[in-house]
Amino acid sequence: MMNRRSFLKWTGAGAAAATLGTAGLFQLRPVNADELESLKNQGIDIKYTADVMCPSECGLEMWVKDGRLTKIYGNKAVPFNDGTCCAKGASGIQLVYSPDRIKYPMIREGERGEGKFRKATWDEAIDYIGKKLTKIKKEHGAESVIMDAGDVTDRDQYWRLFFAFGTPNVFEHGSICDTPRRHGPKLMLGGKRIEPDLMRPVLVRQPDGSLKKDMTYKNKLIIYVGWNPFVATRINYESRGTLAAKVDNGCKIVVVDPSLTNTASQADLWLPIRPGTDGELFAGMLRYILENDNPNSLDRRYIDWGFKKYSEGWDEYLDAFKSWWTKTDPMTNLPYFSVEWTAVRTGISKEQIIELSHMFGSTKPAALVCGMQSPGHHYNGYVASILMTTLNVITGNFDVPGGAIDTEITKSDKGGSATGKDFKKKKVKRTVNGTEVEGEIEKLHMDSYGDWPVAWDDVIGDFPKLFKEGVSLKYGNFKGYKYPIKAYIQRTGNAVLTGSAPYRWIEAITAKDSSGEYKLPLMVTVDTLYLESAVYSDVILPEASYAERMSLSDIYPSHPVLYLRDQVIKPLHESKTPTDIMNLLAKKLYDLGDKDIQPNDFWGKYKSQEDFVNEMLKPAPGRYNVGQPLPYPKLPEGYKLIGTPDSLESGQVTIDNEKKEAKGVPVTVEWLRKNKGVAVWPMSWYRYRKSDATNGEYVANKVFPNTKSKLVEFKFSMYADLDKKIQEGLGVSSGMKELGWEHLPSTFYWFETNWNPNTNPKYKKYANEYPFQLIVGRVHQAMSGTQMIPWLAQTPCEGIYMPLNNAFEHEILDANPAKKEGFELKVKKFKANTWCVGTLLMHSQDAAKLGLKTGDMIEIENPLKRSVKSKVFVSEGIRPGVVKMGFGTGGRFSPGLGGTYKQKDYTPSHNMLVDPDSLSPLMGMPTYADMIVKIKKL
């Protein structure tokens, strides 16, 4: 070994080194005097922004010093989270400054999935993508390209670019979230998310005309079904609001869930229902309420018949619902929807069903709320969500103080023309069976005009099939037209792991043709973290983290509230903002001759992120001056409101009587910055009615809700319109065929869920061999990729993410007082049971039968002969016969996941057990919670 100390004396070697050094300054430059002064004396800069650590997107206050994010707090001016910031939100600094972020553009070197990449320049990467896209468009049409913006957040730049490019196949994560759950509110209210009226404070117009922040909770009963706001956060105010309503107003909380979630542990009553029978419970409740309602009894005045004034189609709905009462269910030999039937199906006692129905009918205000884990993840979730909507409406709880609010139709509008949706209206020509046909780009949509005519939220679960087989259009102008899928551009999502069975995705993405080329020639990932989908990509582009880009919050408040996701710090490493990425790629496509991309739609128009966000803000709030108390008594009732809260308040508006609009000064980034980042417009309730002075009563105002008739629709006009398209197409969709439907129903319907041997005769034969129903739940701190933050990975959750690791070695920071900052990075040995890993939760009775105790290794196998390994966590906190895993907690095979990656071989990926062919029949959503398994000790 050479003598190291003498090294520098080797001047001969030094001279040789001279030829290999590049003289001059590369990373450093001289600083001028003024700059030096300002760099040396920096104060704290406070920025108001919005979180993205979880989909709740809380309003935050971030502190910046020396160009560096130093503190994260909640923003008190944002009523959505009212100044709160959870531990995960505060740990955002660890994600932003993680050394494991994607730092530069990368181009694949090895095979897809090998994880071999080389660092590339932006020029190279954009050139690579641009050329491939141009070629694909030329050969197969722009529709062969899928843009999946993954996260809903900050996606509009990508959507805009790809709409302009000419593909209607532009998606986001929503389609693998909970589409069946949104179905009822969408059909009946034109909405999506029914939530309890729990957001406080709310800004309310007082009788004296002033506006006041109101903190009072009016709720008396909330029934959460398969919804766990304390863990699966999306609607921030629900966790603190639930407790506040309980304490302040004596509100009763009932949680219906097979497992004792954190929310259930706060409830007055926990009903451990059998999975997949929420629809049964609601049908039983509705029948009980209809049969026992008595307008003349104080105690049994369940139904508020006033709803009929604000709705249409009730009689038809009722007939359809009642038509089942006389039928006998082959599984139970009991009449449908009877209390007895409901009890047998749900596993909840008859007495409890009666008590719950009575409690819901007689307690007002109340809210019945379904979570993403209930109807959202079952094949027949539609029926449950339609019934849930019905129950809220007929009991008079819809949009009343303390009742149930569809937040999709109360939140502020945003996006406007920036989203690029208008590009979809552009006409293109295609040759179908030898004939040239013209139609709007949107009619080339792979789902709406292909296999999923009802899926208004798109179908990601079906991608692997389409990657392999291509798209056949069945409806609209282009029916009969076929095209292949040639590019998959994914941004911040992780569909390879989350969009139904990963093995199907991997198979489709790595399939090659006879010449050895990938059948899907282009796969791109744009992200901040390196997750599993990126491992399979050809190009990875580093996206600026949420603290480094500008956009708007995407939240579900009970009235219009909108806040800025301000850019807090500069994009780190070589990452770029969505606006820059959009402009770069647009420019490249334009330079390569794409006439659909015009400078004035992109870089000529949006010179900065602020330009883009200002355009997104133009339609805000876009809601109506309706309800009691009227938000703006000085402005005409029923008119659409546009503009800043202060301009509307001061009457600085133009009234357009034709369009029925009251337009104030548009909200801008600058205005938001001056107002702590947030715009809050007043709250009102009963937004569907107005007072009719002549008759001294309330009548429907016909502007709210958001259905075609602007009434609550028990007769589904959306289905009627879709059915027209279907009937004029090439036949009913495969989902409808599965249901034996020739038409979409006009009103209430019922069908059974999949893979449930208790309710669906088709699966009865599996009951003995596969005795467990498998369900799945979110783990807040480990959702998506955030468990790469070590201390979030060390926080247990509900028996499905527990400290049950095998001993392993991992590089972490360890205390070392001898070091400058008291820490050092070192490979540390973690003892067994000190780090959280994905586990399977099982009831102690079941565990006893199988001879299992907490920590035992097990194998979980489904009837499709797919299996995963896991450790078991035994507790009383789950219904016997049901087992539960977490989403994305185990089997994580990307090295971007830190310590979690090391546990991949013995932790379960729930999606390995999902039936990839069981997509819910109307919306194509993977049925994550419809599965049965057998379990053996290893």
């Binding site: 520098l8 050094g21 990373q27 001289p30 070197e109 994880g115 660092k119 972490i812």
Partner: protein
């Protein structure tokens, strides 16, 4: 410290060499010269040199250079988690980038009238930037020692230099070199790691 012009030149060149090496993936041409250089650091018959020679012979020079660039990508630029991180904060800061260590490094640069070009984007404490800073200081001293009446200036820069070495380079470069050795079996990178380490030894 009494420094000969020759020593100073050698130091400047070495800082420059390592700074260049860590800045971006080297070209084949560069690597060819670098191979000669690194083998000259050790006895011809040393096990590392022998191994390196064997590797070159086994795969042929072109393939060998190619495998070196691939190893370079794997060690320093792999997505997700790089086996060898090139930022000081990862080794002796809070484990995150852009923390106190980075700000402290920035102060050293500012004192010498320099600032990183991609301020606030690329953390200031990348090994290549820190070595570029050392190269700059050595170069300045080299220029000054050839002038008269600038002893005070020289002294001042010498202080900056030795403080930066002791407060920063010596705090982490040995661990960085160790990490390289723990993560690669390729003699070229091992020789680089040894050279780098010796550069900051007292």
């Amino acid at each position: 410290m009494d420094l000969s012009i020759q020593d100073l030149k050698a130091q400047t060149n070495f800082y420059n060499f390592f700074s260049t090496f860590f800045r971006e993936k080297p070209s084949d041409e560069w690597l060819k010269f670098a191979l000669e250089l690194v083998t000259s650091w050790d006895e011809t018959s040393s096990p590392l040199n022998q191994q390196l020679l064997e590797n070159v012979q086994k795969s042929g020079l072109d393939n060998y250079l190619n495998s070196l660039t691939q190893e370079y990508e794997r060690l320093f630029f792999a997505p997700g988690h790089v086996p060898v991180n090139l930022y000081e904060s990862v080794y002796c800061g809070s484990g995150l980038l852009m923390q106190e260590t980075t700000i402290n490094v920035r102060q050293h640069y500012l004192r010498a009238g320099l600032v990183v070009k991609s301020l606030y984007s690329i953390p200031d404490d990348h090994v290549s930037t820190e070595l570029e800073f050392m190269q700059f200081l050595s170069q300045r001293i080299l220029e000054l020692v050839q002038q008269d009446g600038v002893e005070e200036d020289i002294k001042e820069i010498m202080v900056w230099r030795s403080e930066f070495i002791s407060e920063h380079l010596q705090q982490w470069i040995p661990t960085l070199a160790e990490t390289m050795r723990a993560n690669s079996t390729e003699p070229f990178f091992l020789l680089i790691s040894i050279g780098l380490e010796s550069l900051v030894e007292e």
